[in-house]
Amino acid sequence: MSDINIGVFFCTCEGEIEKAIALDSLAQEASGRPGVVAVRKDSCLCSEHGLGAIREDVNKFGLDRVLVAACSPSLKTKEFADLGINKYLVERMNFREQCSQSHPDNSEDATKKARALLGMSLEKIRHSKALEPVMVPAVRTALVVGGGVAGINAALDLAGAGAEVFLIEKKPFLGGRVSELHRYYPRLCPPSCGLELMFSKLESDPRIHVLTSSEVEGLSGSPGNFSISIKTSSSDPTKPSEKVQVRTIIAGAVILATGWEPFDPTALTEYGYGRLEHVITNLDFEKSAREQKQFLEQQKKTAFIQCVGSRDERHLPYCSDVCCMVSIKQALLLKQANPDNEITIFYNDIRAPGEYEAMYRQARTRGIQFIKGIPSELRQDAQGKISVSVFDLVAGERTEVAVDQVVLATGMKASGGTAELKNTFGLATNKYNFIESHLQCHPLDSQREGIFSAGCCRAPMDVSRSIESAGAATAKALRYLQGEIAVTPDFPVVDILKCDRCKRCVEECPFKAYSFDDKGFPQVDILKCRACGICMGGCPLGAISLGELSIEQLSGMLDVLDTSYLGEDEPVILGFLCKNDAYRAADDAGAKGISCPSNLISIMVPCSGAVNGMIISEAIAKGVDGILLAGCPDNQCHCIQGSVLAKTRLADVSNKLKEMYLEPERVRFASISRDDPEKFAATVKEYVEELKQLGKNPLRIQ
């Protein structure tokens, strides 16, 4: 492969790197390697002057590959992507954070490790390919499922951004749960006001097609080109079988806004819902307030009981977010309609976040009584009133009130519509049946590319937040609605000649991006793929490689790695660090001056699940003393199950080593969080010590 021209560029980083690594001597060695036609040392490669020098050399020497020895590859990515050569033909070597900064004490060791890195990178770069983003044509149409306040706003936002929108709703009318309310907070607006405005906007926008009495029957295809079949039944209840229409639409993205259902407190028999008259839920309250004027005006005593069914291990273990504010709102409405209305709210905690605190204060100053203590049961007394006997936790004594009505503040459950979608769309929901992918980092994604969630199908939330989430979901969906989607070329490629159709890749992909072609071979939908590499890690034949990291590259790097680069008696550890957490923690250790043994050479992988068991075996066979797989803690893995799979694969290799009378401790997994560089350094130190105890890998000499 000496017919490719390689240029090697060393940055001294204003002396920061050069103080620990003998760059001149390495530059000398590099220029002697086959294929290297240009070598340059500069004080600041990422500066305009430095980048300009590289571009000049690319031209002058006709470089096919560029090797940059500088800071961590997670930094300055934009700068080093613009060198006059395809950015995938540029290889970055981490000479700063994970070399000079991590091993400052002994600069000879830092240089030795840098030499080993140089050799591996020269080998890796030979196999690199020039890659371009793949442009996939996409339609500019979106589908919104659910015609409540979140769905309506998503449709309006999408149309505002230039997309054609299909808004479908199961019921014969739009408006969802908000249309069932009497007022909503914080301004105590009537829903008709807000909804009317939204409806008129919907009607006047020619890009929005509203289909009521319609449901999704099935979905197929990929983001950018989903094919969805919709069934519309007759909206006339007296003629149910007439005009059942099925149509297919093609949509680039889907926003789900399938809302919530109220919790039924009949199960809490102690409160007598359905048995005692005048015990109602908060939603019943809204209905009565809407339908009967005197419901609010007629003077009576009302008790509210909070957390009915919510924050309850036996029913809804989570907090339903809105019930405190709903009760405060309803109490204020009662007081507003008739100042002589007497209200007591029995609470566990009052949750009035942000500016809503002012409403809570207002409720107190208007004379609404708040008692901390949840009543155990409701009884009807001799006068037909409802007696609430409770232990007032703040006063420290029992108190009893006789009221005309009790409002149970019941919470929100995931809707039946959401449960149906799970099957139709193949979605993942969390244990409470709400749609969820990776809460912190991707709060609006389902686990399927191109499908987003808005409103209460994601989690209990109030009207303002539902509308807000609709806007956010729209912003995410726009990527798929530009008429063309640019797919980054880091997706996996399956070598059909090696593939034996064992189906592991199809099974293990957390984003269900694989399907079978007509011969039964796996094919990846590049639009659904998130390039985590779990398929590459699991293929028993090594038939899958990612665009940026291939099995051949890894194998080649292992070939050239000098396992005695620190000397005969020092163990060498190969570390596969996941790019989200572990690699950054390792960088951080260097940046913070936490010293780390130079025995570990790291390779950045998209996910710890991307490491193939055969590569690990090969590393052992080629004399590496220890292998470290470092990934995110299990429940934080961005690829859902990457860490879990990595551990399983490591266990298999470990077992094999045991059978071979080698030490199973030579392979291990560590959960390293992004913000835990100390743990990373400590893990490596501990590992080096243990490997010294175990002795050299017996296969090292061969």
């Binding site: 309850d312 291990e313 036996r314 905690d349 203590g373 949840i374 006997s389 232990f391």
Partner: protein
């Protein structure tokens, strides 16, 4: 402290909603008996006050609190565990001592009332014997502690 007693795993989950005390029939009559307060003290490690006091002996084990606790805490079982701990530390309420003496002397936990005699007569049962020597012999034979 931790899982060494029945009900222990969930003790820390108590968020002091007060539903147990609100529904407690003993609290209705004796407001100083407050199950939520006992759980709070236990969770804070204030074992001495609990084991030396009278409170834990007042529970009638009606289980209303355990049934209705939203966190699924076995309140009754925890109070019972406290009784076991108290007994192991040789602390027992005077209430209990009084009951034990009565049991060993007369075979009854509380003295028979006029109502009890009347009910026995109505049911056709012979009157209660005043002779307690038989009772003592039974306990001796069983080698029960006095």
């Amino acid at each position: 402290m931790g899982h060494e007693f029945i009900g222990g795993e969930k003790l820390k989950c108590c968020y002091q909603c007060g539903k147990c005390t609100s529904g407690c029939e003993v609290n209705r009559i004796d407001p100083s008996f407050q199950p939520h307060r006992l759980l709070h003290l236990f969770g804070m490690g204030a074992l001495d006050e609990l084991i030396n006091g009278d409170a834990i002996w007042k529970c009638t084990t009606c289980f209303t609190c355990s049934e209705r606790c939203p966190q699924g805490i076995a309140v009754t079982d925890i109070l019972w565990s406290l009784r076991a701990m108290a007994y192991k530390s040789c602390r027992a309420s005077e209430l209990l001592s009084a009951q034990k003496s009565a049991l060993f002397k007369t075979g009854r936990l509380y003295p028979a009332t006029v109502l009890d005699h009347k009910k026995r007569e109505k049911a056709g049962l012979p009157p209660l014997s005043e002779d307690s020597s038989l009772i003592s012999r039974i306990f001796d034979a069983a080698k029960a502690d006095g």
